[in-house]
Subunit: 220 residues, 4 copies
């Protein structure tokens, strides 16, 4: 397993640790499952291959996870929570207003923080993206948390910056959509489309934020 993978797994374990203490074997199983699912997709991965890669018996997997799908969910579900964690902080708004006087400060903070997180969890994010359309449990969780909480939070943020005149008075969902599109578009290009390129992340982020700020600036 590559060192990169090691890091991802470490990060992911920190997540699951929050839920429960895992045995040594359990850790190996999760490592192997993440590696396998992200390489071949969930449906094309076999539990026997995962067991083999984890160095445990086939039965051991099912002692810890009732079904193969259970294993998937135990990997992906906590990731979804973590992924949007900053947006559901208790004192999100309070922190926000004091910490980020300008919309671009907010964008800069968010993109840097979430990119760092994504970088440490790429394989699981890849798994999540692929299985979301097929796993109704994940979809439910996704809609519940992202669509509702995160999107609402972002709308609040945008509306806050519209109210003090930093952002043009278009429907807030539009401002959210275009902001998010640009930043996620960058992440997607950076991590999935052309990961092998030698990106100047700082520069690209600045261009992106500058673009968003001008695109959303109040018209004269």
């Amino acid at each position: 397993m590559s060192e990169e993978m090691e890091q991802w797994v470490a990060e992911m374990l920190r997540i699951n640790d929050l839920d429960a203490k895992m045995t040594d074997k359990q850790i190996k199983i999760i490592k192997a499952a993440v590696e396998t699912f992200s390489e071949k997709g969930y449906a094309a991965s076999s539990t026997s291959e995962i067991a083999q890669k984890a160095g445990v018996a086939e039965g051991t997997i099912f002692r810890h996870y009732k079904t193969k799908k259970d294993l998937l969910l135990s990997i992906v579900a906590p990731m979804m929570t973590k992924l949007i964690a900053p947006f559901v902080l208790k004192d999100f708004n309070k922190v926000l207003h004091s910490a980020y006087p300008k919309y671009e400060d907010f964008l800069r903070a968010v993109i840097k923080n979430r990119m760092e997180f994504a970088r440490n969890n790429l394989p699981i994010i890849k798994i999540m993206l692929h299985e979301l359309p097929f796993q109704s449990e994940l979809q439910a969780q996704f809609k519940e948390h992202i669509a509702k909480k995160v999107f609402n939070r972002l709308q609040e943020v945008v509306e806050h910056f519209q109210s003090d005149g930093q952002i043009i008075a278009i429907p807030s969902h539009v401002a959210v959509r275009v902001s998010v599109s640009v930043l996620i578009g960058f992440c997607f290009a950076r991590f999935f489309l052309l990961p092998e390129l030698d990106w100047d992340e700082e520069q690209e982020i600045e261009y992106s934020i500058d673009f968003i700020m001008h695109g959303l600036a109040p018209r004269e």
Copy 2:
């Protein structure tokens, strides 16, 4: 099968018709395969289910497509070509310059045209998006056509509009990236994320283009 699906299939058949005349059974097989693959994903779809849905014997599938993967590729590969067809027109640049005096005209034409195409081919596009990361044949075709041809074309377009002062003099790849992010972000929200919403497409497109144009406008 829903009427929507009927339309997609009709569009897709028009594509394959260009290549070869298909028998009645072949059409049924493709219909069933598209439906099944897009609902469950390629790996989780079984040839027996496809055969049943198509109303043919399982063996019939393999008379027309040597393997299950062949069936997938025969559906997805031509779609990729069609998807980027406008960008590889012979006289793309000539048409472009005379037809679209402004960058926003170009963006508007492209997004409307491609959205119409996508709308008629959603299931296949969904299949394509899902299988791209796992099917190396598709990846190869994708990199060859999209990454090279389309991206280069878009860079040329952007550079053209930069040279006449419509677009700010940032690296052209950045301008391409943010433009594409915004438009694809909209398509993604429209078709996949919240398809059930009652979108005012015209309005959303105008907001998006306005955002892009201001984001890329030369700074005063």
Copy 3:
């Protein structure tokens, strides 16, 4: 197809010609079947492969041969008849006594004649040897003709030469067995075990016959 194969097929066609006039396609089918059966065995050969190799449609085979087994039998059955043809000549005994005053003359004539025949029909003989244990129809024919007719003929021959003192007075079936073993043993080595060796057939045959004659010579 090798030239050797060409010859075999030619010989085999002469055989089948006795039974019925064959169309051009029929000939091609038989050629392809012989080649395939002898290379992979009957059970492991598919009719579609034979059809392809013969350059005919799959259905064409079944127009001429009701089943795959029919095709096999139509190839092998006539071969069995031909293989032992000399022994069931009408005037076998008459010819024998006048033509071969000594047992070794008889052996020499038989081995040379049958080796020539075998050389021209190796693939079909190989097929026959392999399928005999599994095809009861062939077994029945084999027992009927070989075991009864040929073996009886050979016993008569041996007894004839015993009666005039050329061969030791052991049970005739033993003399037949050892004679046949030595000659077939040679054919087997020559054609199947080590066909690539540069055999001096004349010499080997003489050694073999000399061995048989001394082994069967009356003891002093």
Copy 4:
């Protein structure tokens, strides 16, 4: 299963036991496979039939033998080794010279010993004979062991007896060939051609050896 079959299987298990301990199910699988392969041939035997005959699930076969061919090889390959075991003994020559002062003693010992072995392993030997021409792995092993080791050993033996004047000075390979032909010819008739006959084996062997000894005796 007949008592005869029971014995064969017992003998065969003794062989495999040397390699590894087998589970109860594994033994049943091997029994069923030997029975089926020898009755219908390898290609015409289905794993489902073998599983049924063995009283196990079809999947169980593939837990122990990766493929159907693996199952075949695990049956046949060790048999080949056993079949020629006496000829590759470490102190073959030493034993030979002291134990068998005459060529006929050697022949008698070998034929009796190998017939006993063959009698206990007929079905596997039948399988081996049938599959040798189609399984390149077996052919390789056969050529390596039989052709090289056994044949060379027999040549050495014959040359030893030629040097002390017991056998005529013909090329040793000829003496080997005719000797082996007569003995194998007998085995073949005894076990495969006419197994139902009431053979007086002792007598037939004596006739055969007497025939060989006279056939190879130095000419006066």
